[in-house]
Amino acid sequence: EDKGEDESKEEDNGSQQNRASRRKNYQRKNRDGKKAREEGSQKKDRGKTAPTKDQKESENKEKKTTKRGKEGENKQKKDRKNSTSSASSNSSDEESLSEEELAMLKEQVEQKKKLISTMRNKPWRMVKKLSVLREAQDFVEKFEGALGKGKGKKLYAYKMMMAKKWVKFKRDFENFKTQCIPWEMKIKEVESHFGSSVASYFIFLRWMYGVNLVLFGLIFGLVIIPEVLMGMPYGSMPRKTVPRAEQATAMDFSVLWDFEGYIKYSALFYGYYNNQRTIGWLKYRLPMAYFMVGISVFGYSLMVVIRSMARNANESTADGDDDNFIFSWKMFTSWDYLIGNPETADNKFASITTSFKESIVDEQESNKDENIHLRRFLRVLANVLIICCLCGSGYLIYFVVKRSQTFSKMQNVGWYERNEVEIVMSLLGMFCPPLFETIAALENYHPRIGLKWQLGRIFALFLGNLYTFLLALMDDVNEKLAEEDVVKNITHWTLLGHHNSSAGNDSTVTPPPLDPADVPRGPCWETTVGIEFVRLTVSDILVTYITILVGDFIRACFVRFVNYCWCWDLEAGFPSYAEFDISGNVLGLIFNQGMIWMGSFYAPGLVGINVLRLLTSMYFQCWAVMSSNVPHERVFKASKSNNFYMGLLLLILFLSLLPVAYTIMSLPPSFDCGPFSGKKRMYDVIQETIELDFPLFVAKIFSYVANPGLIIPAILLMVLAIYYLNAVSEAYQRANAELKKKMQMQREEEKNKRNNKASTNPMLQDLEDLLTPSTKTESPPKQTEDKKIESPNGTSPVRKPGRGEVLDGSPMAGGRGAAFIPPSPVFVTQPRTLGVRAPYPGQPRPWGHPLGPVPGRGRGQPCY
């Protein structure tokens, strides 16, 4: 029989024994309660428990398993018999069933149920699992009903039935849930061709899609749809109408493509929303909803990201960075069982071979740094170059954005001028990462560290670009705000003038309202910001897709077909096929998400665009990967960097929260567009709602809570809590490290112990042989013995004399003396110390005399 089964059986048996002993207890009680009918079974029981104990001691595994197996069956049968008898007596007189018996039966049933639920974790053959399962189920079925009595019985049966139904429902629901996870097969296919690292990108993409779907549902369900259904229709008021000057071209594709014209004055953007407090017959408070949704988008995203990070961290608790098992892990976990493609398999074989060779070389010469100064210089140089690149790109973007502001004031500018910012940003995103990679070659880092650096640099580039863009945008917004004041007056005067003129003509008739298209408008900076973000997103999508199409697909086609008539081998040589760029794609996805988070407050439709983007890129990229990419030459592991990506996502989320929060808290909303128009600040909508819609005391409570005197202590408290928790977690970590070290030491010790036992035993044998005949010369063995004990000096000063006594006290009883020795060789830990550390000179050696000359010593010594 194999060992695992044995083990699990043992485990099972353990519980059964437990139960048996408990039963014994209970039976003892019963005896007091003069229950004669249990007598027989009790005897049987006793007889049964005894052999189990005996068996536990016996070492014969084979026998044990078979016996135990039988016994287990026996016991089960017995159990059943036992309980059938009780059940039958139960039916005759229910009251006679004692509490303990019931409890016991209940416990058995519970145990069986537990067995059923953990059946799948047992390393048994299916046949066995099935039969055990059936047995357990039968048992449960049979005795479930017996539990409880009278009314309670019915109730219990009902409860059981409901529990069963509940289990079934849960199972069906699980089935349903797994069916709802999309693209399982697609990802599996990619996974089998490219290994788990590429698939991790697609799993990340799918996760992102899920998050965005929820955001989409929030925004569409609570903001856009209510506005479209219940708000004022298009054309009813100035903010919902295209101005007269733009009307002629408002439907042109070139205009729509820039998100001007009709799109600008649609529900996709902030400016369209009305500041009416309630809309429709539902009295839906739209401005309030708009504000709350804007906040909850961030709240939900934060929650989801942090939760999944925590889950990831939980899952990977076991992986320490301890390098005790380099070779073992390489040996047993490097093959990716997911690989189902010969090409990938070839690559994997090659990469495993190289990694083995690398580790062997590392092992053989751990320190081989030949010219540390040159390397340091090169690394500094590389960093300087990269910082220059980053600054340059930042300045370029700032310059371009400034220029675009002057362009926006001019009339009839060309397509390039209008899209310059997006083009420059996309080009930078396309060319800088390869440039960084080239520069990073100077540094000569280990590839894993190199990848982290590379990711960090690209991240810095993107972030710098994004923030430069934001700063420039801020300038723009400030200009618009200044402009707005002027327009506000104009609008006011126009309306007044219109009113006056109509009133002057005919005072009795109410003046015909000014056509909403003719009313002068403010610039509405919110919509401008929203449009910028939407444009950026769309151009990002296009650039990504075109890069894939050109860089991957066209290249693959070229390499594949032109290869027939070319002077060198294109497939193996220069262009070759593209690899899937995991880190770049993941970063792109993360930044795109950052843009969505920033822009979604001012352009509610942006999330919809993003959902479409993710959906299409799932199919498009899957297709591109499968059709035109080759597996990585060196496949790097994705499992560990997962939380790294999540961390980046969290950082981006936080960074994108900042500008939005700033604009909400400190910029006045436009006077003539958006749900917050006419208010001083956007958050005033909350105060308004509280004042008008809630009873007075809520407003009071709110005003107390919003008091800085309360908020500052609260923040202080939080900071303190963070500090405390941090300290606690640090302490835990330290304890953990300590434990790890201890375990390591123990392991080492044990190893050495065994090592020495194995090697000293023959030696002791010799010693023993020589001891018994006579005691002769002493010097050489004494010396070695001495060394043996003192070499690790300090580890055990206590036991040293003990051993001396033993040897000294009974020099003739070599056999017994030897019996004491095995534990002590622990002290012989460091073989090297032998030569280095001499025994203490002039120390008395009480045990030296009886030892004879041992020729075996010579043999034994090299072992140390």
Partner: protein, 187 residues
Amino acid sequence: MGNKQTIFTQEQLDAYQDCTFFTRKEILRLFYRYRDLAPQLVPLDYTNKPAVTLPYELIGSMPELKDNPFRQRIAEVFSEHGDGNMTLDDFLDMFSVLSEMAPRDLKAYYAFKIYDFNNDDYICKSDLEKTVNKLTRNELTPEEVSLVCEKVIYEADVDNDGKLSLEDFQHMIVRAPDFLSTFHIRI
């Protein structure tokens, strides 16, 4: 869920769901995968448990397994008689253990059996050599192979008997960061 599948009875499906990490749909899909290997051998009615066994040659040719250097060992470990020929039960067992949901301990137990080529309940040096050679397609020199094996034994052998027992193996493998993600086959 009253579908018209007649391959298994409802009880059978429930029992399989209790004994494996699969949902009902996955069990049916696995059945079809199994059947597709040899449609002439496998009946479409499993309600009376026909004793059908597929030879290793068919099992090993599945796309999920055919590039795996350990495919023969996997099939042998999970087959009832250790010869690589599998019944449907064995087949389900195999993919259940290799599924994503299976716990670490179960996976470690079977991984141990897979790497224990000579079935002596220990991974000894010859097993390790075989593993290395399969992983690298014999591209390491014998000296390198033996160095690697020695290092592995040095690292993972707690009780110092020169070979890895199941406990040694589990002790080592539960700390491996990639074990769960690599020792799994998505089907």
